[in-house]
Symmetry: C2
Amino acid sequence: MEKGKLFVISGPSGVGKGTICNRILEETGMKFSVSMTTRKPRENEEHGVNYFFVTDEEFQKVADEGGFLEYAEVYGNRYGTPIAQTLERLEVGIDVMLDIDIQGAQNVKKIYPDGVFIFVLPPSLEELKNRIVTRGSETEETLKIRLGAAIAELQHAREYDYCIINGDLEEAVAAVKSIWCAEHLRFSEEIFNKIDI
Amino acid sequence: MEKGKLFVISGPSGVGKGTICNRILEETGMKFSVSMTTRKPRENEEHGVNYFFVTDEEFQKVADEGGFLEYAEVYGNRYGTPIAQTLERLEVGIDVMLDIDIQGAQNVKKIYPDGVFIFVLPPSLEELKNRIVTRGSETEETLKIRLGAAIAELQHAREYDYCIINGDLEEAVAAVKSIWCAEHLRFSEEIFNKIDI
């Protein structure tokens, strides 16, 4: 059986990665990895579906055993991508999508260099600002911080295999789908099983 | 300006590369490289459009100067891909397609490793045989030779970046187009000129 492929998407907050990822999952059958988190479940969130909800001790144990592809702390809660679950999915031919930050992607690259790393750029800083403002909940001060962080993050685009500009959503989705198709066309010995020679 | 990309397509004779290439040229604006040949022009063939028609001496001079990306002799006529013309096109942002044999592709890879190398496979040996027979002009003996050569050639698929199976033409064309799109999404410093930061 052909193994699945791991697609890692990063980009500054507000760039619209989430929307792109959801469309790609719908249209390709790719699956998000289910993260482990110490955050309390919200209403409608299901253990093993949205997240694996664990205690701080349980999370730390997995971290200590090197069981995460990457993990991070966000607003006091910890989030991690379990290696075992991801590899199991890839092994049975399921493509897995990780929507993670740059540091997480750097860690994944060390552990799983065969991953396909995609960076999403905004068409302009002005547009990124508009998107962040539209989402609300930013003060003038935090907006400046986020934009500054975004500019710094863009420099890391060169560590990724592919870069797409999310100006038009349909174009961005089509771009990621092209990458997904092309990556499945890379030479692998598996190809000889697909033809009748 | 963003440089063009060089796409090199190989595959056993009869696999349908020509049809795929023509469709790709129509749909992407990619251009065939214009080969130099010692063959006499056929009716309707134009110098500089279909081929650069040259004498044996002129051809040999270019070959001696290392002016070909690759060259080969077919039925007593010589054919070569001029480096200068190909690089000029790439330099001004035109994608170039080379439909060449495995040995030619190996030479191109040495001189221009940034090329994108695509191998086209038949869905089955039976189907390849049918396609060769349909084209006519094969005796039982030459058919056997061509099929034997095809089987040997398939082993070289692993030297290519991508492999596509030409079972259904539309799928094969879509596959090459995905590769073309994805390769243009590879990170290059050029991306920072495309966004307004």
